[in-house]
Subunit: 238 residues, 2 copies
DNA sequence: TAGTGGTCTAGACCACGAG
DNA sequence: TCGTGGTCTAGACCACTAT
């Protein structure tokens, strides 16, 4: 019956209406009671949909007042939900390209083995990509995936340049959550060569371990992002 | 009756039990039905509490299996919820100190005026602090608060070294959410002098605009964090 | 099959903010 | 006062996973 849960359908419908200009910045949405009637669901279900919109920064709720469309967010990588690089950027995907600079089957170095809970003689797929926005290098991403999770992923091109889409659609791996750390570092020689820029500049250095719905680590990525492409985050109060 | 909503009471009780070792890493929590009976609430209310624990990375749910305590998180600043610096670090507050290096009433530069929606002749409180962990400099935070939001905040010491606690308890300002950007940069001379370290190193550079429950910007902070103190983030799937 | 979390109902009352 | 979002009930059925 519900291929997708109703709250997700409603969330996507309202998000599309906001992105499509049916509601503009500052507009008030219909109240929760009316939305429930309109979609033929209970108010609790509407609230689940609105919670997602709020976490994504698309709407802001005001107790006693109403729910309002937020100002159009600045360009940037929104990290609030687990998304592909291009979805994070929110740009037209035309401007975003991906060059695979390495795709091979190897044994994991220590940090990778630890993050992915592997032995040192377990095979791992390593996929290194340069992401560009309008042809300018934006980030280097060095992803490691246990061989058993996605056999052959290094042998075929990714679906739509998206590792996450490929894991989901070709290998049936559903992602659930990720632990990400971020710090600053100076760009090393090897990474600079891959990016085609000078080494020594400040870059955002991220480490991400992504877990499947079975809570097994399925991807570990080291990323270096140039400072022109800041990460954005919406943080809620407790 | 409910000074705090029940789901928050349950959330804090379970969090305390996990932090206090009643449940250890990998332990399974009682199922939702039993928790509901135990706390005398409905299952939906228990689920609200568990959602918060999951977003904070304290537990992981597995559909059809159960809810389990996550591995003890590494030391680091968890950015998933709007918290004070010491709460983000999660360390014993003894190790964290705060030196106020600037506290004055000024007119806002352009970026501050824009973020806080002020005119160039509106007064702003500027509060610059060096945060240290075990006496080592960890971050420089340059906070700007509209004078009208918290008059006199530069004239008195902060409550418990916490800007957020002071805003809440002394000025009645309840924070709701923040937009944060993060990028990397090289530490400038002035910031290096405040931190007492050499300039030119890579640092995490953050900009945060914090909004009150009335969705008015009440704080804009520029932050420079040394790479030894990475930010951590739990990211959920869509 | 048994037990778990995921979704959803059809209400109720409370808390907040504007007029 | 009135309309809004915030919290909560007491169930129901579905989807998933292990056995």
């Amino acid at each position: 019956m519900h291929r997708q849960p109703m709250y997700r359908v409603i969330n996507e419908d309202l998000a599309a209406q906001i992105q499509g200009g049916v509601f503009s910045s500052g507009d008030q949405l219909p109240n929760e009671h009316d939305l429930a009637k309109q979609y033929g669901v209970s108010r609790m279900t509407v609230r689940q949909a609105l919670n997602l919109l709020e976490e994504d920064g698309l709407v802001a709720r005001r107790h006693g007042i109403g729910t309002f469309v937020s100002e159009k967010s600045r360009r940037g990588r929104r990290l609030n939900r687990l998304r592909s690089f291009s979805e994070e950027l929110g740009s037209a995907p035309d401007n975003i390209t991906s060059d695979v600079v390495r795709a091979e089957l190897v044994y994991p170095p220590k940090d990778v083995a630890e993050a992915l809970e592997l032995a040192s003689d377990d095979s791992v797929s390593r996929l290194t990509r340069v992401r560009r926005v309008n042809k300018e290098p934006a980030a280097l991403q060095d992803a490691w995936i246990p061989y058993s999770v996605a056999p052959g992923i290094v042998r075929e091109p990714l679906i739509d340049n998206s590792l996450y889409r490929t894991l989901a659609e070709r290998h049936g791996v559903a992602l659930r959550w990720a632990d990400q750390s971020m710090t600053a570092s100076l760009l090393g020689k090897e990474e600079a060569r891959s990016l085609g820029i000078e080494p020594g500049g400040a870059v955002l250095h991220g480490l991400r371990t992504t877990y499947s719905t079975e809570n097994r680590p399925v991807e570990y990525t080291r990323g270096w992002t140039l400072p022109e492409f800041p990460l954005l985050l919406r943080i809620e109060a407790e």
